[in-house]
């Protein structure tokens, strides 16, 4: 016998509730006892639970059964691919069905970031903006943070060398774009600065410490 989840719109039977509790237990147990695989087990359990709640609703089934077979497959396939692309945890390799991992890792105290300045031929130092490629929107800033972290603080190896080469290339491209768009004269070098935010002793922007990390000469 179906009931409507205390009048809020769900159509779950008693057996469904038992299954949902079982899936909830799997999430907790997987997390505690299965290490890295626990994430996979936990996420699959969570999405199975979500699928069950949706499937049990007569309105959802009416929509599915009302469609022709091809569209019925597509309607099931698209959300399935979205979830599968995420739980497979392969980053952007299965694009457009990618991993959705946002604000999942704990940040340490005193977080750090990188900042960039350009030294003009006159010797004057100016901040180098990272939004100089409008088609890429706000993507260049986070991309540079990723490259700088890997190139300047990552483990030595080919990945670090590749990141360093890409970091230099992007910074030089920004310098060229800045020269092209603003009439401040040629840029001689770009500097990468390592900034640390003292979260417990923060007292305005001036309290954010700055350390020189790298100089990239521009041709």
């Amino acid at each position: 016998v179906g009931y409507t989840g205390a009048g809020v719109g769900f159509q779950l039977g008693r057996r469904d509730v038992v299954v949902l509790i079982g899936l909830g237990c799997l999430i907790v147990l997987g997390r505690r006892h299965l290490g890295d695989a626990g994430l996979l087990v936990g996420e699959i359990s969570a999405f199975l639970a979500m699928g069950l709640v949706l499937w049990r609703h007569a309105g959802v089934r009416a929509i599915l059964y009302g469609l022709d077979p091809l569209r019925r497959v597509l309607v099931v396939l698209i959300p399935t691919l979205l979830v599968a692309g995420h739980v497979a945890n392969l980053g952007d390799r299965p694009y457009p069905f990618v991993t959705w991992q946002l604000y999942t890792d704990s940040l340490p105290r005193n977080p750090t970031y990188h900042e960039y300045t350009a030294t003009l031929a006159t010797g004057r130092e100016i901040p180098l903006p990272v939004r100089l490629f409008p088609t890429l929107g706000g993507r260049v800033g986070p991309f540079l943070q990723f490259l700088a972290k890997r190139a300047l603080h990552g483990r030595a190896g080919p990945a670090r060398a590749e990141a360093a080469a890409q970091l230099d290339a992007v910074l030089r491209a920004l310098a060229r774009e800045h020269e092209r768009r603003f009439g401040e004269g040629p840029i001689r070098a770009v500097d990468v600065w390592h900034r640390t935010i003292p979260t417990d002793a923060y007292a305005g922007r001036s309290s954010i410490t700055r350390r020189h990390d790298r100089r990239v000469d521009t041709p």
Partner: protein, 300 residues
């Protein structure tokens, strides 16, 4: 269920909304600047690997990028107008949009801002979203009502799933630690310090005034829970009425404090997560709209 009954006019209006947003977005992007971005950073991702290697130099040349923009604009204009040949134009334009968005991500990194709208475009391409509110529309045979409700419900589900993927990952992988160690305050400060957004240093002010940080610390797990349970909005009107202010407030808070605006999501929410069919039924949109009259279904 949300969108249990949807008229062809509503789906037509949504078609204009979705492809119209893409049209504005593509029109505002110059494209030509991509030819000046270092090509060595490009890694073809996902379906972009299907493009043969020799084609890349041509695609990334100024002429190739201009051609892509022109083709996208032409396709999107036809789709907004609902011109004849909808299915073919829609599929081709969606393929180009997927390439374009993949290119931006392949050059830099994969953000998520535009993906729900990309999925929405694909769904609309697979359903008869041109049966109403379209240019020079010839009369079509009556279709089953589910052909209009299914795409709306599917896009709503996909949009809600995008929140759920984030929320469930955070809850399964990082709870409860991430909600108790003050991480969210550091994320806000870090983003505010490095991004210098529209609202200045508001995000950094929370470090100087711990009282301002308290709502963030309390709100972070609440938002995580609402994100994880997002698909329930399809079934429960009450949950949806609670979910909408929480998530819209969260997006506005992220914009003000971290300088990061999920514009496409904010534009999609009124289209797909409200009873938009009631609003469209009141609009004078041709014979069908008048015949349908205002609807009084009560989904959820």
């Amino acid at each position: 269920v949300l969108h249990q009954r949807v008229s062809p006019e509503t789906l037509g209006c949504v078609r204009i909304g979705v492809f119209g947003i893409w049209l504005v977005s593509v029109a505002l992007a110059p494209f030509s600047d991509l030819a000046r971005f270092p090509v060595e950073t490009l890694r073809p991702i996902g379906v972009l690997n299907l493009i043969p290697g020799p084609a890349w130099p041509m695609l990334l040349s100024p002429a190739g990028l201009w051609g892509l923009k022109a083709a996208l604009l032409a396709g999107l204009v036809l789709l907004v107008l609902g011109a004849p040949g909808y299915r073919a134009v829609a599929l081709l334009t969606c393929a180009m949009l997927t390439f374009y968005q993949g290119l931006l991500r392949g050059f830099t990194f994969t953000n998520h801002g535009e993906l729900p709208l990309l999925y929405a475009a694909w769904v609309l391409a697979l359903f008869p979203a041109d049966d109403a509110v379209s240019l020079g529309r010839r009369r079509v045979a009556a279709r089953a009502p589910v052909m209009y409700s299914a795409p709306m419900a599917l896009v709503a589900l996909v949009l809600l799933l995008c929140y759920s993927l984030v929320g469930i990952r955070r809850l399964v992988e990082s709870a409860p630690g991430i909600f108790l160690d003050g991480t969210i305050v550091r994320y806000v400060a870090l983003r505010a310090a490095s991004a210098r957004g529209t609202f200045g240093d508001l995000g950094l002010a929370i470090l100087e005034h711990p009282r301002l940080a308290r709502p963030l610390l309390l709100g972070f797990p609440v938002v995580g829970l609402f994100e994880a349970l997002a698909p329930l909005c399809l079934l429960s009107r009450w949950f949806r009425l609670a979910w909408l202010p929480v998530i819209i407030g969260f997006h506005l808070g992220v914009w003000i404090l971290m300088g990061f605006l999920f514009l496409f999501n904010l534009l999609m929410i009124p289209m797909f997560l409200t009873e938009v069919d009631r609003l469209v039924a009141r609009l004078p949109l041709g014979e069908r709209g008048r015949a349908a009259g205002p609807r009084h279904s009560r989904p959820g």
